[in-house]
Each structure stands twice: as C-alpha cells, then as structure tokens.
Amino acid sequence: MSQRRSLLAVLSVTAVVLAAPVAVLGQSGDRARVRTPWGDPDLHGIWTSSTYTPLERPDHLAGRDFLTEEEHAELNLLLTEDGVDPLRARSVLAADSEDRRRELTEQTQENIHYDNAIWLTEKQPRRLASRRTSLIVDPPTGKIPPLTPEAEQREGERRNASRWLVYNISPQSFDSYQTRTLQERCLVWRHEGPPMLPASYNDLLQIFQTEDYVVIFQEMSNNDPRIVPLDGRQHLPSTIRQWSGDSRGHWEGETLVVSSNNFNDKIHFNGSSEALQVVERFTRVDDETIRYEFTVEDPTAWDQSWTAQFPLMKRDGPLYEYACHEGNYDIRHILEVARNLDEGATRGSSEP
C-alpha cells in the first residue's frame, strides 16, 4: 500500500512537470539557437516521438484543435497511473466520457501484454506530449482526406488478395508468411516511414548530423538508417524503388526540409501508392524539443495533401540493436502450429 501511495505522490508531481512544456510547440519566439560548429541548427542527439495523441481527431472533439490545460493535465494524470494499458491508451482521446476513458485505458490482470509499470519507471512516462487533439493539423478537420475512388478500389483489391497492409485489415491467414503482416514479418513498421509516426513503444530515434548528411536511426526499425544527403543531388531514377524511399534534405532557415519519394509498391501509408511524396520538416524549437512536421501527397490516393505534427523530445539513450528478423520466432511458430492443425484435420477426416 505504502509503495502505491508513494508512486501516486510521484505521479502527481510528474503531472505538474508534464504540463509545463506543453505550450512550447505553439510558441514562435524564444527559440534557443542551438548550433553545430559549422553553423547549422543542431538536431543531433537521441529523441523520442512518444505520445498517445491519435493521428486523426476523434469525432466528439470536432472543431477543437487543442485540449484545455486542465483537460490535458487530467488526462496525463490518468495515463500515467498504475494499471493503465499502454497499448489501449492510444484511444484515450476517442472516449467521450470519464467512464469510457477508464474502461478504455484500464488493464485487467488477465490481459497484461505490456505492463505500464515498466513505462512508468522511465524519466518521462508515455503520455499526451502536446495539447493537440490529433497529429493531423491540415486539413483543419484533423482527418485524413477521403480516398479517391481509384484508391478505394486499390485498397479493396489489396484486401481481397489477402495482402495485408501494415495494419491488419484483412482476414487472418495462416497459409504462408506472405499473408502475415509486414510488421510481423519484420519487414517494416507503420511508424518507420517516412513519414515517421509515434511508435507504440521502443520509440527512440537518433539523429546524427554533419555538414553534408543527416542520418536518422530509429530504434524499432527494420529499414536502413536513413542517410539524407544535403548537397542538392538528384533523386534516384524512378526505376529504383525502396522500402524507405529516397530522401534528400536542405535547410530552409531554421528548418531541415527532407523530401522523399521512390517508395516501393509494398508500402501503403494510409492508402498511398508508389506515387507517395513526403516532405518532412525538423525544427529545433528549444533545448529539449524538435518540432517534427510532415506533409504527404499522392494524387492517386487523396485529392489534397495533408499534414501532421508532433514533438520529438530529448532523451538519453542508448539505442539498442533491434534485430527483429533474427529473433523472429512468431512466423515460424504460427506456421508450424497451423501445419500441425492441418495435418490433424486431414488425419481426422480420413479416419472411418
């Protein structure tokens, strides 16, 4: 009991501290001019994208870009309580009542996949990193623009072909590795991008910077570290397609602008095709924070581009080696069990 009380005491202190940096992203003045020795804004270091803010704005928050300070502080208090399910908590903003919020975030003893107790030991527990009600800032609805008829049809075909998207939207199949999700196969995570999204966990990223290159490493990544040349060279020819696209960067004042295209046809970012174009903007807004913003465009998927924004917050690291494929027992076990069941069924039906 006393242990829990002291944890709560720590948490309420934490909540006050958490509320403080919230306004930073909205401020334009008072930018700490952190510079590299050669004069570029300094982005180097280890950062986290950790937040429970949803990509799209929940319906009941329509018309509200931001939570109030009080709402934000209250939610963060709830989210950093012991016993919160760190995966389900992603839908906390979708709840339109206190009861529903509790119901959505509470973890039952029978269903502990990830234990928030581990997150809570971190210097900064996972929470809502900003007061925004969605990562999407444009269009002003906070929603992804509707898919074009062409994209709707494409998505339908993908589903029918049982080719799973990065998110599970088609029926499960245990026939082959090919019908498992891309993340299960250690091919790519939805958050890897470009554009990057806050990861569900293991959300550290490292930015390494020279005068000629910026290199972006994400801890939970199956892609190469992203080597972004800053020398104005041309993009790859369109015949060369990559999982992480082909990135080029340049400085616009205080902001690193990275443009990526040449994606392969296996990547579907919310319905996109090979024609996906991504522009990311990294701006160091203070000692502890980079404002990360991305705009995606794909005329075959959406009639308009859309933009999202979230903070990258400084952390200590280190980044660990992820080696997902090397330790992938899931695919093997799933297929092994399925084949054993098939064999059992065949034996069963052939018996008189």
Binding site: H44, S176, N222, P225, I227, E321, E326, G327, R332, E336
Partner: protein
C-alpha cells in the same frame, strides 16, 4: 603485421610488390609508393583527424573463406550454374592460420557441412547467418561483397552497411560499455595518429566470419584499425581475440577501396523478404492457395 607505414628499404620493395597486386591498374606502382610514404589524408574540417567519409568496399573473396581457398562449384551448380560458384582467393588471415582450440575446430567443420541447412528447431544456430539475411557481425560486415558508408563527425563515426540494413554508431570519446550482447557488438573508437581504432565487444555467439563456417563465441573481442593509404584506399586490420575458441589473438587485414562512380550511393538491400522462402518455405501450405 602488415604495416604500410614503417618503411625500411626492404619494406618499400615489399610494399611496391604488394601494392601492384592489390591496386591493379588503379595507380602506377611508382605513384603509389610515393603516396604511401608521404600520404596525408585531408582533415575533417575543424579537427586534426583524417576524414574517412565515403562509400567503401572490400574487393576480396574473404566472405567465402577468410583463409586461402580454391575454386569450388558452390552448393547448387544444377540450379545456379556458375552464378553460385566459389572463386579462388588468397586468405586475409595473417600467416593463413586460425588458431582454433581442438574442439572448436571440429565445430568449424560442422558449420561448413551444415552451412546451408535450415533447422526448424535451431534456426538461429545452424547454418550460415548470411543466407538467412541476419546481421553480419564484425569484422564480416567489412568484407561482404557490398558497399558501406562511413560518415564522420567530431565526436562520432557512423558506419552504414548495405547488407541487411546493418549499422554502427561509434563514439570517439570515453569508453562505453555494451548494455546487452548483440549481432554487431558495441563499438568504442579513438584515434591513434591517423588510424581510427575501434574496439568492439558485447557480441553474442551467433555471427560467423565467412561462408566456410569460421566462427566465434560470446567472448569475442575485435580491435579494428582503419588507416588512410591514398585518397582512394583505406587499410583495414582487425585483431580477433576469443579465448573460448582460439588459443591466441589473430589478425586479418585487407584494403578497402573507395567507390568513385558518379552518383554512387548506398542503395537499400533489405534482404528479409528475400530470405523468407529459404527460412520459412517448408512451413507454407502450398495447397492453401496463398501462394
């Protein structure tokens, strides 16, 4: 020790001869000796250290076998013709001898025999990790037949390898300890004159040195040395120590060549999906219609 930089009249002759072999027609031997003797690499701006940045590649058959090896038809001549054949090559091991403990040598032979075996119950420990698209480890990452890129700042060096999306971040100050054992190990770098020295520990026992089954344990300790020889060459040396497998430390060395083609860059070779049929193919339901 293969040192380009300690010159006596005798070693100049040796260096000239070796250079002619390793450099081919790149530079005339005369120019090379002049350069090797007096070569001073450009400095990384703002520092007193050489700038090793660039895209580099080994030009050797060491990935087949780090010791001397002859021609071999390769494992599947019926399927692959000579695409899969092993070319001959001189070894990169000093003295061509790997000082295995007796029982460890037996394990090396076993590795070689089972190098293309996929054992469902020992998928991590049986067979060459390369075939499964596993991270190559150090030093193997250096002499895989794929380029890698060095990007250097004042306080860190990053090496990104084309094979299997492998990478290393090497801090140049202090000595940090591996938080956990890993495929690529845990690197700490420092400058010894114009040589970048990288001390690598924190390996587990799963990576191999080559397709011939040469291997190590989790006691592996590698010290790498990267020395600029000319604008287009680095000399690479790695000393390998592992008391659980070898009776004494031993050293490999080889030149690394700068890739100088216009528009050369590290392209993605993400091999996970290329390895899936190999690793999981026996578990696929071929009648289920999924394929």
């Amino acid at each position: 020790m293969h040192k380009w930089f300690r010159f006596t009249p005798g070693t100049v002759v040796l260096a000239t001869a070796t250079a002619a072999v390793v450099m081919g027609l790149w530079l005339s031997a005369g120019t090379l000796v002049g350069q090797a003797e007096s070569y001073v690499a450009p400095r990384l701006p703002g520092t007193s250290h050489p700038d090793l940045s660039g895209i580099w590649q080994a030009f050797t058959t060491a990935n087949w076998d780090i010791q001397d090896h002859g021609v071999n038809p390769g494992p599947f001549p019926r399927l692959l013709g000579v695409w899969g054949a092993q070319p001959p090559g001189r070894g990169v091991v000093e003295g061509n001898e790997i000082p295995y403990l007796p029982e460890a040598l037996a394990k090396k032979q076993e590795n070689l025999e089972n190098r293309l075996t996929v054992d469902p119950n020992n998928v991590n420990t049986v067979g060459d990790p390369e075939a499964k698209c596993y991270l190559p480890g150090v030093p193997r990452a250096t002499y895989m037949p794929f380029p890698f890129q060095i990007i250097q700042s004042t306080h860190k060096v990053v090496i990104a390898y084309q094979f299997a999306s492998a990478s290393r971040t090497i801090p140049l100050s202090g000595s940090t300890e591996a938080p956990v054992d890993s495929w690529m190990g845990w690197s700490n770098g420092h400058w010894d004159g114009d040589t970048l020295v990288v001390d690598v520990r924190g390996f587990h026992d799963l990576s191999w040195f080559d397709r011939a089954g040469n291997y190590h344990s989790d006691a592996l300790h590698v010290v790498e040395r990267y020395t600029p020889m000319s604008p287009y060459h680095l000399w690479y040396e790695a000393t390998i120590e592992d008391p659980k497998v070898f009776t004494r430390p031993w050293t490999i060395s080889l030149p690394l060549y700068r890739r100088i083609e216009q528009d050369v860059r590290l392209l993605e070779f993400k091999c996970v999906d290329l390895a899936e049929e190999y690793v999981y193919g026996s578990l696929v339901d071929t009648e289920g219609g999924a394929r």
